[in-house]
Amino acid sequence: MSRGDEEGDGNGAAGTAASGTVDADRPVVLVVDDEEMTTEAVALWLGDGYEVLTAYSGEAALETLDDRVDVVLLDRHMPGLSGSETLARIREREFDVRVAMLTAVDPELGVAEMPFDAYLLKPVDDDSLHETVERLCRLADYDDTVGELYAVAQKRAVLESEHPPGILEENEEYRTLVEEHERLQGETREVTGGMDWAGFERLVGDL
């Protein structure tokens, strides 16, 4: 996946309708949030490197989503279809898409089983959004195992930042997550021969 070199031309901010024009060279990000100002700002921030589509509800997101979309930024608390329900339907439809939750909700223990790739706690700004979206886009260059490793490591980090070790260790889903993480770390070491090591290190160095 390559990233376009065009300067932000306001296309992101202007293209806030649920369907925007899609430039074939730039990764496509779909922002889903019932707060219009938030979706617009995300479109503005990411507009310099991405095509940004916006949706103001889970239902609208599912209509907009197609295989051009590389990354979805998904709010959790929305009227109608919630973020986690929307996420479940996105996964059912088996799009090759990375999903980052973008939410004010602290990650409860149950998120161990939610199939997201990253978890961003509001408020976010230009820099933190760019960092996450870039990483998620880069995952497409690697084996599926790396993508799984990334998601599992994110989930683990998010849980560990929010819950004390004593509580986590008693949680079965968490323990499963840790086992999965260790298994994927082992597998990733096996499949990384001949890969772009510098890029890989940048991507998963701290997983």
Partner: protein
Amino acid sequence: MSSPNAPPDGGSDLAPADIAAGEFLDRAFFRSLVDNGSDAIVTINEDSEILYANRATERVFGHSPDALVGEPLTTIMPERFHDGHHEAIAAYVRTGVRKLDWSGIQLPARHASGEEIQLDITFEEHRYEGERVFSGIMRDVTERVERTRRLERQTEQLEQFASVVSHDLRDPLQAAKAGLALARSRASDDVDDTLGEVETRLDRMNELIEDVLELAKRGRAIGETERVELRSVAGSAWETVGTDAATLAFADPPGAVEADEERLLALFENLLGNAVEHGGPDVRVEVGGLDGAGFYVADDGPGFGAVDPDRLFDHGYTGSDAGTGFGLSIVEGIAAAHGWTVTATEDEDRNGGARFEVTGVSGA
């Protein structure tokens, strides 16, 4: 068998001179001690029949000693414990295996009014006139137990409140930051300057929200403690709050403490973050042990200056424009939850830099 409740010859009012008068009065002395002690004492036989009760039972249970003697022990037990008690004592008489810890356990009992009271109980087994008997020495701790429960409830409510408020503030804060970014993208330079100021305030509100959450957690009792190496936990904290120009050093050897690792990490994040914030860009921070009594975090920055050391640990007190003033309050809360004390001084060996000592630490 004669009842041990029969008044001893000579009565129980003893003058000090009587005590030295011989074995007979020694018995009377101990009898008096037991009778008049503030803890309730009840003795039963293997059939759980009450053989003896001291005067304090009147105050603790609302039953006079006379009313209790001859009655079953279950008279002063909540009904749900009756079966368990009979089984436990039968099993003990048969096998010698105790179902409960006999020393200082806490159990509810039933007052004559029907109310439940909380007791600290120590059981003793002894022989009286050839019979095997059991005595319970019982202290009424109802008030203490209720106070603790009330505090726990309040703490929990406070934490929930802080949590709800903080999270509910994040959403509008995100929207405000978003709206601001949109406005800045089309603002003239002078308007943009003003909006930049607004953004600074929003970031500060966000810091406050996060600190209030952390502060609410400080009321939380610490979790399981384990032996934690100061070097490793301070190192992890430094990864979060340290900067390239600042250095963290360890006095040799910093040692280990018995602590809740997550809370200790938060303590170090705040102390080290403080040093970085106030000590200047190239500050050197040192962490070391205090000969088994605790540990310290000292820096070679400018010290406390005009900041009042007595107010350092107060909520919301800050010596800088950047801080929220909650950091040291959080530190003190975490220390207190471990039973530790934090003191702040200016370090003479480091040109009067800030020095925080955490003392009263076990396993340091």
